[in-house]
C-alpha cells in the first residue's frame, strides 16, 4: 500500500504527462504481482467495493472527531478522503492498533471484497491506524472510488503498454477480457507468455475524436476534401455484434471511454441481436427517438444513469443508434480505409438492417463553406428537418481519413453552435472541491423578474468553471469582501440593483425544472466573462430564458424559498 500511496501522491503533484507515464511505468516495472495489477485496476477505475462507501468513512471519522470541526475542515479541504486522512487521530490517542504493519494493496482489495459488511468498519479503522497520512489518503481515495489524480484509464493503460513497448490500443482491445490483477497481461508485456488471445468477444475499439473548429480556421480548409454530418446532441456509442465460434450472437455497447454499457440498454441490445445482417462494429450516437423524431438531450438524460431499467422506462424513452461509421465488418478491420469508403460500406449495411433501431446519420450536402455555414445556422432547412433541435453543430471529416483512435490532427473537426449568453447577477457562492478547493468557486446567479414587491432577482443556475485561475482569485476576493450573509458553507454576496457583480454566463440551452425556483434549468452553464463594468440593474431578465425553452415546455415558476 505504501508504494502505491507514494505513486498516487507523486502523480497528484506531477503536471507533465510524460513524467506521469514514467512514474507509472517505473512502478509497474518494479512492483511485483499481484500488487501492481491491483494498482492498475485502481488507476483504470476497475475496482469497486460494494460495501465500502463514503458513508462508512464518514461514520468512522464521526466516532473520532467533533462534527462541527469535521464539517468546517471538510468545507475547507474540499475532499472527503483527504480531510479524513489529515484528521484521523494517531492510534496512541485512540488507544488501538500497536505497530501493526501497514497493509499491502492486495490485502486491501482482497480484504474489502471478502469482509462481511459488519467487519468493514473495524478492518478499515485498523488499516487507517497502521498507515501514515499519505497511506490513509490513498486508501480512502481507493475505497471511495475517485482517485482524481489527473490520470485517465487511458494513460494508465499507455504506461502498462510501455512495459512491452506495444501500442496502447493493443492493450485497449484486450482489456475487456481481462480481470484484476491482470497477471496474463503483465506476463505477455514482459515477454514471459503469449498475447492472451481469445479472452475477449466483441472488443471495444477506442474511438476517433475531433478537434474544435471556428470560422476562421474553416477558411483555410478545402471544402472538396471534406464530408459534413450533423453533430448530434446525444452520447457517443460503439455497438459491436459478433458470433462466437459456437454460433452464439453477442452484442456489446460501449461508451466513448470503453465502459461496457450494454446492461443499460436491453432494448437496443435485443434489437441488435436480431439483426442477422450485421457482424461488426458500428460507431454512432445514442439518441432517444419517439414518433420518428429525435428528442432533445434533456429527454435522453432521463434515460441515462438509471439504476433500474424498467420496461416502462424503455417504452417511454426508446434508445436508438444513429450510425456514422463502420469500424469492422465480419473479420475485416475497416479502420485503415478512407472515410468515404467506410461510409459506402456503412450505408450498404444500414440498408440491410431490418429492426429500425439503427439508422444512418445523413451527410450534409454542401459545395462551398458558405453553404455549410448556412446549414449550421439553420439545420432544419438544410436537411435535419424535425430533428433540428437535437443538432448541436456540424462535423467535418476528411474524405480520405482513416479511423485513427484518439484525437489525430487535421482529420475530423467539430463545429458547434455558438452558446447562448446571458448577463446574470452573482447571488451566492460556495467553496469548490478538487482543484478549486478552498476558493469560493461555485457561483449561483440570478436574473431579474417582477415580484410582488417590485423587481427581484431569482436564482437560475450555478456555474463553477469557465474562468481563468487569475479570475478565480478575483472572484474569490469579491465574494469574501462582499459577503452580506452566511448560511453554513454558503455565502450570500451583495446583489442589489446598484451593487453586485454581473457574470456573463454561456450555456447550451434550457429545460423546464421543478427543482429551481425560477422554473427553468440551464444546460452546461459556465462563466464566459466577468462584467466588472456592468451595474446589476442592467443584467438580463428571466423572460429571456423562457423564450428558449423547447417546444411543449413551460416555466413552472414556484413562489417562496428554494
Amino acid at each position: 500500500m505504501n508504494d502505491f500511496a507514494e505513486l498516487l501522491d507523486r502523480l497528484a503533484f506531477e503536471p507533465r504527462r510524460n513524467a506521469k507515464l514514467r512514474l507509472m511505468e517505473d512502478f509497474f516495472r518494479t512492483t511485483p504481482d499481484p500488487e501492481r495489477g491491483y494498482a492498475l485496476a485502481a488507476l483504470t477505475g476497475g475496482l469497486s467495493f460494494r460495501n465500502a462507501k463514503p458513508g462508512l468513512v464518514r461514520a468512522l471519522i464521526a466516532e473520532r472527531t467533533d462534527p462541527v470541526l469535521f464539517a468546517l475542515s471538510y468545507d475547507y479541504v474540499g475532499d472527503l478522503s483527504e480531510t479524513v486522512a489529515l484528521m484521523w487521530p494517531p492510534p496512541s490517542q485512540a488507544g488501538t492498533g500497536h505497530n501493526a504493519p501497514p497493509p499491502r494493496l492486495a490485502d486491501v482489495v482482497e480484504g474489502l471484497s471478502m469482509a462481511a459488511k459488519t467487519e468493514l468498519p473495524g478492518l478499515l479503522a485498523r488499516w487507517l491506524d497502521a498507515l501514515d497520512e499519505t497511506g490513509r489518503w490513498a486508501l480512502l481515495k481507493l475505497i471511495t472510488g475517485a482517485l482524481r489524480i489527473g490520470v485517465s484509464a487511458r494513460l494508465a493503460k499507455t504506461a502498462v503498454a510501455g512495459l512491452g513497448r506495444v501500442d496502447p490500443n493493443a492493450v485497449e482491445e484486450l482489456w475487456h477480457g481481462l480481470t484484476p490483477p491482470y497477471e496474463p497481461l503483465f506476463a505477455w508485456l514482459e515477454g514471459r507468455a503469449d498475447r492472451p488471445e481469445g479472452l475477449v468477444v466483441a472488443p471495444f475499439r477506442p474511438p476517433m475524436l475531433s478537434h474544435p473548429l471556428d470560422e476562421e480556421e474553416l477558411s483555410r480548409l478545402d471544402p472538396a476534401e471534406f464530408c459534413a454530418e450533423w453533430k448530434w446532441d446525444g452520447i457517443r456509442i460503439e455497438a459491436v455484434r459478433e458470433l462466437t465460434p459456437e454460433g452464439r450472437r453477442i452484442v456489446r455497447l460501449y461508451s466513448r471511454t470503453g465502459e461496457d454499457i450494454t446492461g443499460s440498454f436491453p432494448d437496443l441490445c435485443e434489437a441488435l441481436i436480431a439483426e442477422n445482417a450485421f457482424v461488426g462494429a458500428l460507431d454512432g450516437e445514442l439518441l432517444v427517438l419517439r414518433g420518428g423524431r429525435v428528442e432533445s438531450f434533456n429527454v435522453l438524460q432521463q434515460r441515462l444513469n438509471r439504476k433500474a431499467i424498467t420496461p416502462r422506462l424503455m417504452q417511454e424513452f426508446p434508445a436508438h443508434i444513429r450510425a456514422y461509421d463502420l469500424l469492422g465488418e465480419g473479420e475485416e478491420d475497416l479502420r485503415p480505409l478512407p472515410f468515404a469508403e467506410r461510409r459506402r460500406r456503412l450505408e450498404a449495411l444500414v440498408a440491410r438492417l431490418a429492426g429500425g433501431r439503427v439508422d444512418l446519420s445523413p451527410l450534409v450536402p454542401f459545395v462551398s463553406w458558405e453553404e455549410l455555414v448556412a446549414a449550421r445556422a439553420r439545420p432544419g432547412e438544410a436537411g435535419a428537418g424535425i430533428d433540428a433541435e437535437a443538432v448541436e453543430g456540424v462535423m467535418l471529416k476528411r474524405r480520405d481519413s482513416p479511423y485513427v483512435p484518439g484525437r489525430p490532427k487535421g482529420l475530423w473537426y467539430k463545429w458547434k453552435h455558438d452558446p447562448h449568453l446571458v448577463d446574470a447577477v452573482l447571488m451566492y457562492a460556495q467553496r469548490g472541491h478538487g482543484k478549486r478547493s478552498s476558493y469560493y468557486s461555485d457561483y449561483t446567479f440570478g436574473l431579474w423578474r417582477s415580484g410582488p414587491e417590485g423587481e427581484e432577482l431569482v436564482p437560475v443556475g450555478k456555474a463553477y468553471f469557465g474562468f481563468t485561475d487569475e479570475e478565480l482569485k478575483e472572484l474569490d476576493r469579491f465574494v469574501r469582501r462582499e459577503t452580506v450573509n452566511r448560511f453554513g458553507p454558503v455565502r450570500e454576496v451583495v446583489h442589489t440593483g446598484e451593487r453586485g457583480l454581473v457574470l456573463e454566463v454561456a450555456f447550451e440551452g434550457v429545460q423546464q425544472s421543478t427543482r429551481h425556483k425560477s422554473g427553468v434549468a440551464m444546460r452546461f452553464p459556465r462563466i464566459s466573462r466577468i462584467r466588472w463594468d456592468k451595474p446589476p440593474r442592467e443584467a438580463d431578465r428571466l423572460d429571456y430564458l423562457a423564450g428558449l425553452l423547447p417546444r411543449g415546455e413551460t416555466m413552472k415558476t414556484r413562489a417562496g424559498k428554494t
Binding site: 503533484f13 503536471p15 467533533d66 468546517l72 475547507y76 479541504v77 475532499d79 489529515l86 489518503w137 478547493s437
Partner: protein
Amino acid sequence: MQARDILSLTPAGLYCPLADVHIDPLRPVPRALITHGHSDHARAGHGAVLATAQTLAIMAARYGEGFCGTAQAVRYGEAVTLGPVRVTFLPAGHVLGSAQILIEANGLRIVISGDYKRVGDPTCAPFEPVRCDVFITEATFGLPVFRHPDVVGEIDKLLHSLTLFPERAHLLGAYPLGKAQRLIALLRQRGYDRPVYLHGAMERLMQLYGELGIALGDLRKVEPGSRESLGGAVVLCPPGALQDLWARRFPDPVAAFASGWMRVRARARQRGVELPLVVSDHAGWDELCATIRETGAGEVWVTHGEEEALVHWCTREGLAARPLNMLGYGDDEAEAEAVAEPSA
C-alpha cells in the same frame, strides 16, 4: 473593569484607550506596539513605535530609516509603563524579533500573541507561554487538518529530491522574512553545506539576519546569466517567482514551496508545486489548542484565520471565546499566495 474596556476593536485594529496605543495597527496611528516585522503587522507611517530591536531593524530595512516618528526598542521580558498600563514583550517564536505583548491593567492580564509557533526554530527565540486572563490568538491554521509534520522530514524530502535529481535546479519558494532564513538554518542542521542561492528579493533581509547574528553559511546571489549553470543547486525565491519567466532559465527546475498551506494537496496543485514542503511559522491546530490550555486563560479572542473552528473548540472546552474577524492580517502566508502567477 472588563477586558473589553482595556482593549477595544477599532477600524485601525486593537486599541488600548488607557495607554492610547494601537497594537499592529492597519493604518497610521500616533502610537503603536508592533508584535513582529511581517508587513501585515508592521506598517510604516506611525508616530511612536514600541517594538523589539530586531523588529525595528526589520522595519527600517523594509521601509527606510524614517518608517515612523520615533522608535523605542524593548527587550524581551522588560516591562514598560504606559500610564496605568504595564506592557511586556515576550518571545513568540514566529520570526526573529517576534513578540507576544502582555498588557496588565486593573489586575487583568491580557496577552496578544501576534503570530506564533511552538516548534523549535534556529533563527528565533522560542515561544514562552504566559499565564493570563485573556489570550488573544491567531488562527491561521485553525482547523484540525493542519497538523504540521516534523520539519526534519520535510527538509529531508528536499534533500532526497536533490539526490534523485542532481541535474535539476531546486527552486524553493518561501516567504522572504523568517521562513527563508529558517529553511536555510534547517538545511545546515541537516548537514547541507553547499552554497544556497538567493533570488534578488531575498538578499536584503538575509543580510540583515547576518548582521543580527544569525549565521546561515555560504549564501550567494543568483548572478545575471548564471541560472543555466545552477543544476543541482538550492535556490531560494519568493513564492511568486516560481511561476515567473525568471524560473524558466534554470536547468529543468523543480518547483518546491515551503508553507503550512502545503498540507492540503489541492493548494499545492493550484500553485503548480511539484515538491510541497509542509513547513509553517504559524501554530498548527494541536499547538493552538495546547497553547490556549497552557495560558490558563478563561477567555479567548481569535484575531484572524479560521476563527470559527477555534472558537467552537474553546466553547466546547468551557472557555469564553469570541472571533474578532479582523481583516488585513494573516497576509504573510496569503501575501505569498497573492504574488503568485496563475498556474495554467
